[in-house]
């Protein structure tokens, strides 16, 4: 008995020591949730259909090219839905040749001949892969952008393993508008030669082209914030895109207005030089996310650097440079949730939570001592250790303390004494049945243990599902609850038993127990 007291004492001290070491100083070690610290929480969805559409469009272009190259007549190749397209108006005798093309060059696609055409569908595993990549890439891009914007300790993570949702948490940020725009901009930058425009409407624009958009061109609108608006007719193929950029920074143009200066990588510079030298005197449209920002006239051959102007404010120029540096998003983004908590409310919540917690703690302690006398002090010690372990656990798992988390701790204060009560009541029963003090204590602990284990494990089951389903504050609550239950089992069963054994071992023949 005496010998075993030793190691149990040491284990308890070690656990408490580690917990205290982990949680001190609490201001640095305990991570506070946004609801306590203040900040912005955003949930957004990556529209992965965009990525599938791009894949489909490219495949359509490739198929048309191949059919032309092999001189196979066809009428149209059209998109049916994202991930499905159909070539129409084929001749029966060409089927073999087409199969050869498809088998060799369209391995990502399932195909089926029907009528006078063939329908191609993206293979499910490829579809999944592309969507997954789109989300990952979006995650990476957003992380880049937030890093460059400069937020301390941001959380940017994917929700669920295969989810298309991304959670962004930015502590300390109070105004979400600017950040939201930075995250959301697709930032697809293209430089395209202008064939006609700007014109106030489509008819005027296309009057030199018989009212139809030529095959190698497309219609683009002017960004109403940056230009006069209106329509431009630009070539379909971009001279350079955002991928060719090496750097971008805020700068000023020759009239000292805010603008974005960029430099190109060697490959981009070569292509840009070719296009500019061949088209001196013609306008070149700078298109961001499908909207013309400006269309300056090419004055001279440009190779590896240039300037984007438009009517930017300083902040807008800065943000555009930022998103260009961080890269384009592979798909557009939609906001699902947006929550902003000011620091004042968080501070208030912490204050009130602390007040409620301390009040609860004091009252429960007084009650335990009043009801169980000296044994109650045992429970009080267990309760205090329990709270220390909870905070140590929170610090160790780098879990976030949220307002519901504080509620969870307060609830744990009430529930933690449950294990003590179960044991004490059992000991009282054994004493009443006439067993000696030492035997009663031993029987009380061993009989109550199974009940405590079963009842606490079922509560943990509920908490695990809570963790699975929740986000932010609710998740914080679940973690606190789980740590609290485990800690209370340790303190009530192990530590409390130790205190009993220790006090009993000091008396030679204990006859009474204050319980």
């Amino acid at each position: 008995m005496k010998r075993s007291l030793g190691w149990r004492f040491i284990l308890t001290l070690v656990v408490i020591g580690i917990s205290i070491f982990l949680m001190i100083p609490p201001k640095e070690k305990i991570k506070l949730g946004l609801d306590l610290k203040g900040g912005v929480h955003l949930a957004l969805q990556v529209m992965t259909d965009d990525a599938i559409n791009i894949e489909t469009d490219q495949a359509i272009a490739r198929l048309q090219e191949q059919l032309k190259k092999k001189e196979i007549p066809f009428e149209t190749v059209n998109k049916v839905s994202p991930g499905t397209f159909r070539a129409q108006g084929l001749r029966m005798e060409d089927e073999g040749k087409i199969r050869d093309i498809l088998d060799e060059l369209f391995r990502d696609w399932n195909y089926a001949f029907s009528g006078q055409g063939v329908t191609l569908t993206l293979k499910p595993e490829v579809d999944r892969y592309i969507r997954d990549q789109a989300v990952n890439q979006a995650l990476e891009t957003i992380r880049n952008r937030i890093d460059q914007f400069g937020v301390a300790e941001p959380t940017i993570q994917r929700q669920g393993l295969a989810g298309e949702k991304i959670i962004v948490e930015l502590p300390g940020v109070e105004n979400p508008e600017r950040v939201k725009n930075i995250i959301r901009t697709t930032a697809l930058l293209e430089f395209k030669l202008v064939k006609a425009g700007p014109a106030p409407d489509e008819e005027t624009l296309l009057k030199d082209f018989d009212g139809k958009v030529p095959e190698d061109a497309e219609l683009v609108r002017g960004d109403p914030k940056r230009t006069q608006g209106g329509f431009y007719l630009v070539s379909k193929v971009a001279a350079i895109t955002g991928k060719d950029l090496r750097t971008a920074r805020r700068s000023v143009d020759e009239w000292n207005n805010p603008a974005v200066a960029f430099t190109l990588n060697p490959d981009g510079a070569r292509r840009f030089e070719k296009v500019t030298s061949e088209n001196i005197g013609k306008p070149l449209a700078i298109i961001l996310d499908g909207r013309v920002q400006s269309a300056p006239t090419i004055q001279d051959r440009i190779s590896d650097s240039g300037i984007i102007h438009g009517r930017f404010t300083i902040e807008e120029a800065e943000d555009l440079a930022l998103v260009l540096r961080a890269g384009a998003l592979p798909a557009s983004i939609k906001y699902l949730e947006e929550r902003t908590v000011g620091p004042a409310l968080g501070l208030d919540s912490i204050r009130k939570g602390l007040r409620a917690g301390i009040a609860a703690l004091v009252v429960v302690m007084i009650f335990m001592v009043f009801y169980y006398r000296l044994s109650g002090i045992n429970a009080v010690v267990a309760l205090i250790l329990n709270i220390i372990i909870i905070f140590g656990g929170l610090a160790y798992f780098r879990a976030t303390l949220t307002l519901p988390g504080i509620a969870g701790i307060i609830l744990t204060i009430g529930m933690a004494v449950d294990a003590n009560i179960l044991i004490f009541e059992r000991i009282r029963e054994e004493l009443a049945a006439g067993k000696g003090v030492v035997n009663s204590v031993a029987a009380g602990f061993s009989r109550a243990f199974r009940t405590i284990l079963d009842s606490n494990l079922t509560t943990i089951i509920a908490a695990i599902f809570l963790f699975q389903f929740g986000t932010g504050p609710v998740k914080g609550f679940a973690v606190t609850l789980i740590i609290g239950i485990l800690a209370s089992m340790f303190t009530a069963v192990f530590v409390s038993r130790l205190i009993f054994d220790f006090t009993l071992s000091r008396k030679r023949r204990p006859e009474t127990l204050s319980i």
Binding site: K334, L336, R339, L347, P404, I406, L411, G414, F465
Partner: protein, 386 residues
């Protein structure tokens, strides 16, 4: 030794029909209220919308707020006072789908409507001052304030700005320039601020916007989490005890959830994510209670072999009664303090826990054992319960 009960011998199971009738009546009333009546009020987490907490510089009445919102077509917003003193309010804009917005753009619409609410509550002269380029000390952020102060006092700008923002965080809103004097700022600094800035009449404490799509998903997830938690417990109890206890335990929990929701449906409180968390917690707590009773029943089945099951259950409940009441008592006390002092943000959560605690304690005494009793009557001999 202080004891709650001196060897109680209450015949709990004699009241089982009364208990069934009572629970049934509450659940029935709740279900009627939920389907035909006013029903459960879902918060923005589940319906989508905008929820804003505002602190005003001067007291204002609910009707005054509504009068300011009405001209903008926002008069049907839900306006609630957070704390006595008519200074802090929470405003939830009403359902927006009926305003006929395109579904894809709705969260943007919610954001715009949130801005409209704030603008409507600001005084016209404030908006004019903002227009002229004056800064509102009650909404300015730290960086902007440093920039402003740097125009006059480049050296101290950082420190003064920090002090002012800390004061604002502490109090929620700066009420007058006199507040700033308490910070030990120089008179010229205060004069400078009075010239370059003003004190807005309100401060936005928090602001939440949820799109309708998110709401739908959260609703599905909440139901799934509850169902899976129940299944998880059923399996665990069936494995550790016997299937009869598992079924009875889970039925008791379903009872708890239904009764709590029914009572909730008669209050003016909204259901948001934390409420679902509270309900799952009470599920965890209630099963805890129930298992303590079951454990005693199982133990007694081995000792008191001759006793009829119903009698045995009475004995078991009585034996665990002081523990049940004591634990419920301490937990209730703790949560009561949370309810009383925890603040408005957590108040609904604490309320749900309080109700759930009472329901959970009641059900583990009056519901769980009778269900096992009936299961045994239908499915088989007593020894299967050991």
């Amino acid at each position: 030794m202080i004891t709650l009960f001196k060897q109680p011998r209450i015949k709990f199971l004699n009241y089982k029909y009364f208990a069934f009738a009572l629970s049934g009546a509450i659940i029935l009333a709740g279900l009627i209220n939920m389907t035909v009546g006013k029903g459960l009020k879902f918060g923005i987490d589940f319906t989508g919308g905008t929820f804003i907490r505002i602190k005003f510089r001067e007291p204002i009445k609910t009707e005054e707020i509504r009068a300011k919102l009405s001209p903008k077509g926002l008069g049907d917003s839900i306006i609630q006072e957070i704390e006595r003193g008519q200074r802090e309010y929470q405003i939830r804009t009403a359902g927006l789908i009926k305003r006929g917005e395109k579904p894809g753009e709705e969260i943007e619409t919610h954001v715009i409507i949130g801005n409209m609410v704030i603008e409507a509550l600001q005084k016209p002269e404030e908006l004019a001052q903002l227009e002229k380029g004056f800064k509102d000390l009650n909404s300015i952020d730290h960086k902007e304030l440093v920039n402003l102060l740097a125009q006059g006092f480049p050296e101290e700008a950082e420190e003064v700005a920090r002090k002012i923002i800390e004061l604002r965080d502490e109090k929620g809103i700066i009420e007058s320039f006199d507040d700033l004097r308490g910070l030990g700022l120089k008179e010229e600094t205060i004069k400078f601020l009075q010239e370059k800035s003003f004190l807005g009449s309100l401060c936005v404490l928090s602001r939440e916007t949820v799109g309708p799509q998110a709401g739908k998903e959260l609703r599905k997830k909440a139901i799934l989490a509850t169902v899976w938690a129940l299944i998880g417990m059923l399996v665990y109890i069936a494995f550790r005890f016997k299937i009869a206890y598992g079924v009875a335990g889970v039925l008791t929990l379903v009872h708890d959830v239904l009764v709590t929701l029914s009572i909730y449906s008669f209050t003016n409180r909204e259901i948001n994510l934390p409420i679902i968390a509270a309900i799952l917690t009470l599920v965890g707590y209630s099963i805890n209670d129930t298992i303590v009773v079951f454990d005693r029943v199982r133990e007694n089945l081995k000792i008191l072999r001759k006793l009829p099951l119903e009698e045995l259950m009475n004995v078991s409940i009585n034996q665990t009664l002081s523990r049940t009441i004591l634990t419920a008592g301490t937990t209730f006390l703790a949560v009561l303090f949370l309810f009383l002092f925890g603040g408005k943000v957590i108040n609904d959560f604490a309320f749900t826990l309080l109700v759930g605690l009472i329901v959970g304690t009641y059900s583990s005494i009056y519901q769980s054992c009778p269900i096992v009793l009936y299961w045994q009557k239908i499915f088989g001999p007593k020894k299967k319960l050991k």
